[in-house]
């Protein structure tokens, strides 16, 4: 029996909220949400963490990038219920409690790695995840590794420069 992915159910369920528990930036959060709630909306509206931006809302621009269990993901393309029981780090969780910036944030500051700043939280989250996987990334690897993040100011030159400053080679 053939089945298409373009599925339209004739019946609609009664909307039932589900309890979702996510550890966000080290703090246990618990909220009742509709299953269709996207992780980015959960973070912004339920958790009150508005540092994660919604850009294209279609998993292209990367403005909504957060870490899910330590890896960069696009929070506009994940339902909050899918993250139940997992841990999320947002841009608010990057700096130390005393306000000391994460080295990547510091590098974006020092190298003027932002213009309007809208893409910056996503860029920082994507870049830190990239360097966890490839600590000694080359410039080509950084450029390719950030392909999921768009800067509409086209400020890529200094963004790449900032990330390169955080590579193993860049720190020497």
């Amino acid at each position: 029996m053939r089945r298409s992915q373009l599925r339209f159910s004739q019946t609609r369920p009664k909307v039932k909220k589900l309890q979702v528990e996510v550890t966000v930036n080290g703090t246990r959060q618990s909220h009742d949400v509709e299953p269709r709630t996207l992780l980015v909306h959960y973070l912004r509206e339920n958790c009150g963490l508005t540092g994660t931006n919604v850009g294209c809302d279609s998993s292209s621009c990367g403005a909504c990038t957060v870490h899910l269990d330590g890896e960069a993901v696009k929070s506009c393309t994940i339902f909050a219920v899918q993250a139940d029981g997992q841990s999320v780090t947002t841009i608010e969780g990057m700096a130390d409690a005393d306000g000391t910036l994460h080295p990547m944030q510091e590098a974006f500051h020092a190298n003027h790695g932002l213009q309007c700043g809208y893409c910056t939280p996503g860029m920082v989250m994507a870049a830190t995840s990239l360097l966890q996987e490839i600590p000694n990334a080359t410039e080509a690897q950084v450029r390719e590794g950030l392909e999921g993040n768009l800067c509409r100011c086209t400020g890529y030159h200094n963004i790449v420069k900032s990330v390169m400053a955080c590579t193993r080679g860049g720190q020497q």
Binding site: R3, S58, S129, E147
Partner: protein, 275 residues
Amino acid sequence: MIPVAFDYQRAESAQHALDLLAEHGDEAKLIAGGHSLVPLMKFRLAAPSVLVDIGRLSGLSYVNDSGDHLAIGALTRHFDVENDPLVRSQCGLLAEATSKVGDPQVRHRGTIGGSVSHGDPASDIPSALIALRAVMVISGPGGQREVSSSDFFLGFLETAIGETELLTEIRVPKVPEASWSFQKFNRRAQDWAIVGASVLVDGDNVGVGLVNMDSRPVRAASVEDAVRTGASSADASALAAEGCDAPSDLNANAEFRAHLAAVLVRRGLEASGVA
């Protein structure tokens, strides 16, 4: 963009997922990484009333050496496939095609089984599986069955997976000595291929799969036959679009796609050592 409301069920095992599918029939849809399905739901091109989440079935995430082939669990993420040493050494074409899917964030979530089940003619991985002559293992109420990659893709976003079935494994023949190439033509980083081609040459075993050249992922059988019988890459690649009903859209009309297919297949054949 907010999808239509749905009921959410988390499967605790593959059998549980099959039970939930049996219970809800065509009202239900499986979700793994969700990176094909969630965008469809947000654009309201799909509105299942029940989502069965199989994303936690870690038992279906693996790459095993099974003698003459690699057995890859359907829930193995793109990131894990592209970086797996066995996949890289035994089925390098699959690792390469997987590394070109979306972007790193997408590859952290998307799964090989999800990509294949979606049946999108524009996605990269099916072309590699067609070229590699992979076999899909589908589990259902009556047990397991195997479907070749040639028979698996039936139409636009349609596959051989039935309403109450679950893709569990993909078996990819090991070809450590093969020459191969993955060619993807697009205008911008991270875009879907306007046209793509997976090419594999391993002695008499020639495989060519095309991306975005029909309503479903397709094999370029004429090119394969031509190479097998000694045609040059230029002559063989001229047959790339034969039998294809290529789509026309804002990026390219069918004629331009046919041109791209010939160029990409020629490049792929040349990179795979075909004179």
